[in-house]
Every structure is written in C-alpha cells, then in structure tokens.
Amino acid sequence: MSDDRTQPNAAVDYDENGVDRTLVRAMLALTPAERVRRHDQLLADVQKLAAAGKAARDGRR
C-alpha cells in the first residue's frame, strides 16, 4: 500500500473546484433539521479545538 499522502483520497469525490461532493451528497441525504444539528456539533468541536489550542499556546508562554 502506498504511503504517499500527497495523493488525493480515491474514496472522496472532489469536483474541479476542490469541493468534496461525497460530503455534499451526505448533507443532502439529511433533513434540514439534521443538517443544522450536525452543524452545531461540528461548531462545538471546532470551538473546543480552538480553546485547546489557545490553552496550549498560553501554557508555552
């Protein structure tokens, strides 16, 4: 198995603009309410990551 991580993931279908169509189709399979709930979970994860990063930076100072 190749370990060349510069190659795109063949399981993911990117379009000519670099948009992950696999993800778009997954979103379209959800109801609007499910899309917003999924979004809220992602946002919470992003905010936790940002907070952890800030704490790590502050700790290094």
């Binding site: 670099g18 948009v19 778009v24 309410a33 809220d40 905010q47």
Partner: protein, 163 residues
C-alpha cells in the same frame, strides 16, 4: 462560552413570532452545504410590531453587542434602520441584518425564500440560487469559498432530479 446551539437560537426567534429570513452561512447549511459557520445571519422585518417581538426574543436570548465589555443590550432604535447588529447570545452568535446587498430588505426577499421545517418549528430560509447570487457579488475569500460550495449543492440537486 457554552456550546452554540444555533437551532435553538432560531427556535426562540420563531417562538416570539419574529419575522425574519435566514440568510448567509446558515441558509447554506440548511440547504445542504457542508460548511461550518460561527453565526446565524437573519434579515429582519423592520415593522414596529416586529421590532417589539424581536426585542422580547433578544431579551430571552440575553443578547448583547459583541466585542463590547459593557454588555450593552440592543434597544428599539437599533432595530429600525437598514444597518446590522452583531450580537452575542446565550445560544450563539447572531447577526441581525436590516438589509443585504445594497438595499435589499426583508420584503424584497420574501419571494426568494421558503418555509423550511426544522425541529418542530419552521423558519423562512433564502433559496440557494438567490444566496449564490449574493455571495458571488461579495469579494471576500470566505464568500467566494461558500459560493463554490453552494454551486456544488445546486449541481448535486440537479443531478439527483435527473436520475
């Protein structure tokens, strides 16, 4: 800050019968774009009745102006013009717009919006084609990136209809 619960933020606005249209990133998410946005952008109706309902909703949301340590709360005079208010609430970040583009108001976009059922309540959401039109006019990289995502969603919807 507690985790944002943007779906509940929208629920509170509807519970107070506020007239608004979801625009911006959250409209793209509801339409199916796989993006993450930090805030909810809504275009508000500027009628006196709606301003009153909006103030009641903002009170329940503990809304204050963002980036101001004085924790100032919006009042009616802030909500009657075409400008925008950047607010922090207990359920997440809320941008209240009086207009979009140059001077497009709530009434102007009604025909380009539709009611979408969320979780036991419905909100008016701007259509993806109209949102794309707005995003294409904006030159910020984040708007250009969102435009590409919206285009992809519209294209996937078209493909699914043709199957």
């Amino acid at each position: 800050m507690a985790d944002a619960r943007l779906i509940d933020l929208l629920r509170v606005l509807r519970a107070h019968e506020v007239d608004f249209i979801v625009v911006g990133g959250m409209a793209a998410v509801i339409g199916g774009a796989p993006i993450v946005t930090q805030d909810v952008d809504v275009l508000r109706a500027n009628t006196p009745e709606n301003v009153e309902r909006l103030l009641a909703a903002l009170d329940e949301l503990d809304a204050v102006f963002r980036g101001d340590d004085r924790r100032l709360r919006p009042v009616a005079s802030h909500l009657t013009g075409p400008g925008y208010l950047l607010l922090a609430t207990k359920l997440g970040v809320l941008d209240l717009l009086g207009s979009v583009e140059d001077a497009t108001r709530y009434e102007d976009l009604l025909a380009d919006s539709s009611w979408i059922e969320l979780d036991g309540f419905s909100v008016r959401v701007l259509s993806l084609p109209r949102l794309l039109e707005i995003k294409r006019k904006l030159k910020r990289p984040k708007d250009q990136l969102m435009a590409l995502q919206i285009e992809a969603v519209i294209d996937e919807q078209r493909r699914q209809r043709e199957r």
